[in-house]
Each structure stands twice: as structure tokens, then as C-alpha cells.
């Protein structure tokens, strides 16, 4: 691993330079909102951002993705063979919580028995440049409660930490080191810089004010599938699924065919356990008939089922669902309320 220093002002141009060579997916400000997007030619990323509205999972797991093409022949509709290759990409400016989300998504998509080629290929061809949080971006951030850290980014190829006049750039993997020449003039990081990083990192941890007993509620969830508490959280829910669309770890999807004339595609689109038709069967039977059951599913999946299966909570504490819920349903409050029942 190599640790280098660059002047703060130089970073924007470095990213621009990288974007001249390969697609860069980075935070961009549009109006008053920040989204992850591919940088247009000559466009600089928005560096002074807190975190984006959408999660960067879109790069590996887009909201709509074509799985295959088919066409009509005399014998029926047949698959059009194609070997799509994804170009090498750079994902720049990912917050540590979102970097962690990729580790969690890997557990689902990159399994031994069934590996998801669409996700895995894009993931493998992407170099992740993380941007440590010097301050927690939002008052709703709670990454440290779910196993994360505002200034560490296990899983990133390059970690950039803001110091006082410089950025500390740590090249964490061979993939990251390949980009080293694009960073131009780099000074070796001295001990003082590394110490300063440590100091700021500790400050960032201390500045996180939002905490939830995420692991503690597991035992309650294990034995309280039926409990009056579940009647109390869903009533205001609009079932819009904004929480799951913006969630960096939600990964449920639907597969659908769309035809136009003789040609068609098989698509995968995001789906959400908050929707009634998600579990609706053709017969009319719905195993989760109401919003109560759907809310229980969402919570159980994140804090119990995923833990049972992968020994990790399926939440990175980014707070997007808290901030974007149109009716202010707050998962932190729910988890805290459950802990009180323990």
C-alpha cells in the first residue's frame, strides 16, 4: 500500500483527467440535489458534497438493466447471442458507508453456486475511489452502529482523506495502484500526515450523534415475528418504496420482458418488498397481504434474515431512507423502539 499527498485544489483536475480516459461515475450537483452520474466530457465532480440522493449501487445494479435480447424468427422468439463487455470504469467519491454496501451486495450477487454476471463483471471492472468523511455528512448518519466507520473504506481501491491543506491518497489495491500515474505529482505521506488522518478520523467517529442498537435487537427479532409492535409502524407508510430505491443495500428485483415489433428485451428492474404486487401470486394469494407484513419483512430482512445468512446487518447507516421518506418513517426510531421492548 502506498500513501501519498496531493494539494487539495488538485483533486478536481485529477478526476477530470481520469474521466478523459475512462468512464467516471461521480457525484454531480444538479439544482440543489447531488446524484451519482457519469461525468460528461470536461465535467468536474462535485467535491463539496455531503452524500448523494441516490446510492452508487446504481452503477453495478442499475434501476433498469437489459439482461438479454431476443428476436422473432420463423421458429419462434429466439435469444440473440451477444457478448457484452463492460469497459473499465472508475467510481469516484464514494463515502465509506456506500463502499461497505458493495461488500454486502457481493454476498448476494457473487455467490459460489450462482454468480450474477451482470453485477460481478461491472464490479470487477470498476476501480473504487472512496472519499472519507471528515465530518459525518448528515445528522442522520449512523454508520458506526452497523459496523461501519466514517473514515475507513474496506473494499475501496483508493481511499482519499481530507486533511488540512492536502488530501491523503492511499492506494489500497493493485487496481488502485494502476491509477497512480494519473494522479500526477504526488508527495510521499509523512508520519505527520498519517497521524493527522488518525486524529481526524477519531473526530469524525466522535461527531456521529446518531446511534442505534442494531445488533442488540436481533434477539428480540428472533422470537417476535408476532408482536403488537408490528401494528404500530406501518400506518403512515405510502408503500412508495423510496426507502428501498435509495438504499445502498436493497437489492430486490423484478424480471420482465418488453417487446417492440419483432425485437424484445428481458429487463431487470428494481423492486421493493414495500409493494403489494411484489409478493402477489397469480392465484390472488398474497403471503404478505398488508403494509404491516411488508414493513416487518423490510426490517427483519435487514436486521435478522441477512444476519442469519451472511453474519452482517444489511444496512450501512447512510440515513438516506430516513431523510427521503415522504412521511418521515424513521428506521432509527423503529430500531430504538424495539430495543426498549427487549
Amino acid at each position: 500500500m502506498e500513501a501519498k499527498l496531493i494539494k487539495k485544489a488538485a483533486l478536481g483536475d485529477i478526476v477530470k483527467k481520469i474521466a478523459g480516459q475512462k468512464p467516471v461515475y461521480a457525484p454531480v450537483k444538479e439544482g440543489s440535489k447531488v446524484h451519482f452520474k457519469f461525468l460528461a466530457k470536461g465535467e468536474s465532480p462535485f467535491l463539496a458534497y455531503a452524500n448523494s440522493v441516490n446510492a452508487p449501487k446504481n452503477l453495478f445494479f442499475p434501476q433498469t438493466e437489459t439482461l438479454m435480447h431476443y428476436t422473432k424468427t420463423a421458429r419462434g422468439n429466439e435469444l440473440v447471442e451477444e457478448s457484452e463487455t463492460f469497459s473499465e470504469m472508475v467510481l469516484f467519491g464514494v463515502r465509506p458507508c456506500d463502499v461497505r454496501s458493495f461488500k454486502l451486495l457481493d454476498m448476494v450477487f457473487d455467490q459460489k453456486q450462482y454468480s450474477d454476471p451482470y453485477y460481478v463483471e461491472k464490479r470487477e471492472r470498476t476501480t473504487i475511489i472512496a472519499l472519507a468523511c471528515r465530518q459525518p455528512p448528515f445528522s442522520t448518519c449512523f454508520c458506526t452502529s452497523v459496523g461501519g466507520h466514517p473514515a475507513q473504506a474496506d473494499g475501496a481501491d483508493i481511499l482519499i482523506s481530507e486533511l488540512d491543506d492536502d488530501y491523503l491518497v492511499e492506494f489500497l489495491s493493485p487496481k488502485g495502484e494502476k491509477l497512480i500515474k494519473l494522479f500526477g505529482d504526488l508527495r510521499a505521506a509523512d508520519e505527520a500526515a498519517l497521524n493527522r488522518k488518525k486524529e481526524l478520523s477519531d473526530e469524525a467517529v466522535a461527531a456521529i450523534k446518531s446511534h442505534i442498537p442494531a445488533t442488540e435487537i436481533k434477539t428480540w427479532l428472533d422470537s417476535n415475528f408476532e408482536h403488537p409492535f408490528w401494528d404500530s409502524i406501518h400506518q403512515g407508510c405510502l408503500a412508495c418504496g423510496t426507502c428501498s430505491y435509495l438504499c445502498p443495500t436493497c437489492h430486490c428485483f423484478d424480471i420482465r420482458d418488453e417487446a417492440q415489433g419483432d425485437d424484445g428485451i428481458r429487463l431487470r428492474t428494481w423492486d421493493s418488498c414495500m409493494y403489494s404486487i411484489y409478493s402477489q401470486e397469480t392465484s390472488g394469494h398474497n403471503p404478505r397481504p398488508g403494509q404491516k407484513q411488508r414493513w416487518r419483512q423490510r426490517l427483519m430482512h435487514k436486521f435478522k434474515y441477512f444476519v442469519d445468512n451472511y453474519d452482517a446487518i444489511s444496512c450501512v447507516g447512510c440515513g438516506r431512507c430516513v431523510m427521503s421518506c415522504p412521511v418521515n418513517t424513521d428506521i432509527r426510531k423503529i430500531v430504538n423502539d424495539i430495543a426498549k421492548l427487549n
Binding site: S32, N54, P137, L238, G241, L246, V322, P326, V327, N328
Partner: protein, 336 residues
């Protein structure tokens, strides 16, 4: 606690204690600054949760509709002698009361299923306006002090006037007081005298067609098809929405510009004569899609062509479910 809030709580307590209603739907303080959440009070011990302030945004009529519809469904398989009634009380401002009127006109439930706690309303804080004022920064703390709002962001503290972040639909609202109610929590207030409530429509209509199309396309491209706009809308209560039908499939599942447009256009057309301009669809949108301009155009047509305002009068027929010989129909025979 303001006097309106006090009266809402007193009335809610009385209704629950006297078993006049099963649930009171109102607003409670949210977990984030300047936010409230819909709340559902079933016991008089909890009435102190109820609040009333400019952070009360959502039109609560949709919750009345779903509570009563779900109850009716649940009673379907119950023996006649065991059937139970359900009465819902709701905190209703002008726009909410108009939505309730639409439900009643469209025979969604009966007047006696409903107790309306009316509130005079001076408008709510528009999330998007506030966000623009603080340049997209997070509001870390916020409080309302008379006509001023004090907010704190990572850049420091600042004070805004309430009026500059009040939603446009509220600024132009002619229904500050409920059109029907069973109880008024506070004195009726005078309505804002908007010079031209349709200025937003006229200005847009004056633009060249290409510009209008570009604006519309750009707005629709923001949509991530979560359908929060539809789900909060009291007039969107179809059991199965056309976007979710699979035989035939009207709208593609993927997020692409034309499917977004088809969804939004279809939904908006279903709002003709049924949109009360409550602004909830805009308020709930995580991506800030501007739907109001287009809905307001339908509102204007409703008024110009049929002298009708959605849900304004309980005994006035809705134009699109009524036929009169002198109905305007130039848009059919002489389309521009």
C-alpha cells in the same frame, strides 16, 4: 402549544372518550427538524401527540380512504350480526376537506363514517423551496417563531421568513378554511388574495412548444417511478392502478423517458376536475419533480370550461361524471 393544536387535542380526546370515533388521523412531530408525520390515535391517552403547525404537509384524506376501505374489506366475510362500524376522525385543512368531498361525491364512503376536525390553514413549508434556500444542505435544527423560521445547517444559522418558503399552492389557495367540517379548531381566516393564481400556467403556456416539451421531458426524467405521488394523492385510490396491470401491460416496467411520461400523463389526466392542488404529490417526491404546473393547467380548464373547482361544494356535480347539453366541447370539435 398554539390554540388550534389545543382545540384539536380536546376534540380528539372527547371523540375517543365518548367512543364517537375509532381513530383520529392527524399529524405528530417528526424525528427530523421541521417535519411532521401522519399519526393514528386510537386512545385518548395519546392525543397530546397531535400537533398543528406549518410543517403539517400531507393531505390526510388518503389515509381516511384507506382506513375505511380496509375496514369494509375486513367486514365482508363477517356475519351480519357481528359486523362492526368504523368511524374515522381526521384533521382537515381546506384542501384535505375538498378531497373528502371528492370521496363523498364519488361514493367512496358515507358522510357518517367520518368526523371532520376542521382547521384554518395558512400554508405549509415547501420542502423544495427550503432546500433551495439552504443550497441543498441538511437542515440540522429548525424552529418556527411566528413568521420566521430559524434553521441551522453545516454553514451556520440563518433566519428565513415563513412566507418565502411557503408552498406556492398555499400562497394561491382560496380554501384556507375547510369546505365541510363537524368541528372547527379555530376561527376561520381570510383567504390569500392571489392576483393571478394561474400565472404559473399562463407563463408556461406562453413559452414556445419546444421549450415546454424540453421542460416536461427534463422533469419526467427525474422520476424514479416510486409512485409516491400517486400513493399520497387522495384522488388516486384505484384498487389496481393501470401501471400495475399486466394483462395488458400499459406501461413498461423499466425506467425510461417515455414510460415515465406515459405514467405521469395518464395519472394527471385522471386528475381533471379532481385535483385540489394540495401539493402533496410534489411534497413527497424524493427527486423534486414539478408536477404542479401541469396539474394546475387541468385545474384552470376545469374552472374555465365548467366553472368548477374540485371538491369545493358537496352538492355540485363533478364535470367529468356529468353531462349537460351546454358542456364545453370545443376541445373535441375544434382542437387547437
Amino acid at each position: 402549544m398554539n390554540s388550534i393544536e389545543e382545540k384539536i387535542r380536546e376534540e380528539a380526546k372527547r371523540l375517543l372518550d365518548e367512543k364517537k370515533v375509532d381513530v383520529v388521523i392527524g399529524y405528530e412531530t417528526g424525528t427530523l427538524p421541521l417535519q411532521t408525520a401522519p399519526c393514528f390515535i386510537t386512545s385518548s391517552d395519546e392525543v397530546d401527540k397531535l400537533v398543528w403547525n406549518p410543517c403539517c404537509k400531507q393531505n390526510l384524506a388518503i389515509y381516511v380512504h384507506s382506513a375505511l376501505t380496509q375496514h369494509r374489506e375486513s367486514q365482508k366475510r363477517v356475519k351480519p350480526e357481528d359486523k362492526k362500524a368504523k368511524i374515522v376522525a381526521v384533521v382537515a385543512r381546506g384542501c384535505t376537506s375538498r378531497s373528502l368531498v371528492i370521496h363523498l361525491q364519488e361514493k367512496q364512503y358515507n358522510r357518517e363514517d367520518l368526523v371532520i376536525i376542521g382547521v384554518p390553514c395558512q400554508g405549509y413549508i415547501d420542502k423544495n423551496k427550503l432546500e433551495a434556500k439552504v443550497d441543498g444542505l441538511e437542515v440540522i435544527t429548525g424552529s418556527i417563531d411566528g413568521d420566521a423560521i430559524k434553521v441551522e445547517t453545516s454553514k451556520g444559522k440563518t433566519e428565513l421568513s415563513l412566507i418565502e418558503v411557503t408552498a406556492d399552492n398555499c400562497l394561491e389557495c382560496r380554501f384556507c378554511n375547510p369546505v365541510i367540517h363537524d368541528f372547527m379548531a379555530g376561527e376561520a381566516i381570510p383567504v390569500y388574495e392571489s392576483d393571478d393564481e394561474f400565472a404559473v400556467v399562463d407563463e408556461f403556456a406562453a413559452l414556445p412548444e419546444a421549450d415546454r416539451w424540453d421542460y416536461f421531458s427534463a422533469e419526467m426524467n427525474k422520476c424514479m417511478r416510486c409512485y409516491a405521488c400517486r400513493n399520497i394523492c387522495p384522488s388516486c385510490y384505484c384498487k389496481v392502478c393501470f401501471v400495475e396491470q399486466s394483462q395488458p401491460e400499459w406501461v413498461g416496467a423499466g425506467v425510461n423517458p417515455s414510460d415515465n411520461q406515459v405514467f405521469q400523463i395518464m395519472r394527471m389526466f385522471h386528475m381533471a376536475g379532481r385535483c385540489v392542488d394540495c401539493g402533496s404529490c410534489v411534497e413527497v417526491c424524493a427527486e423534486g419533480v414539478d408536477l404542479r404546473k401541469f396539474l394546475k393547467k387541468l385545474d384552470k380548464d376545469d374552472l374555465d370550461l365548467y366553472e368548477h373547482r374540485a371538491g369545493a361544494e358537496l352538492d355540485k356535480e363533478a364535470p367529468l361524471s356529468t353531462f349537460r347539453e351546454n358542456d364545453a366541447e370545443s376541445f373535441i370539435f375544434e382542437p387547437k
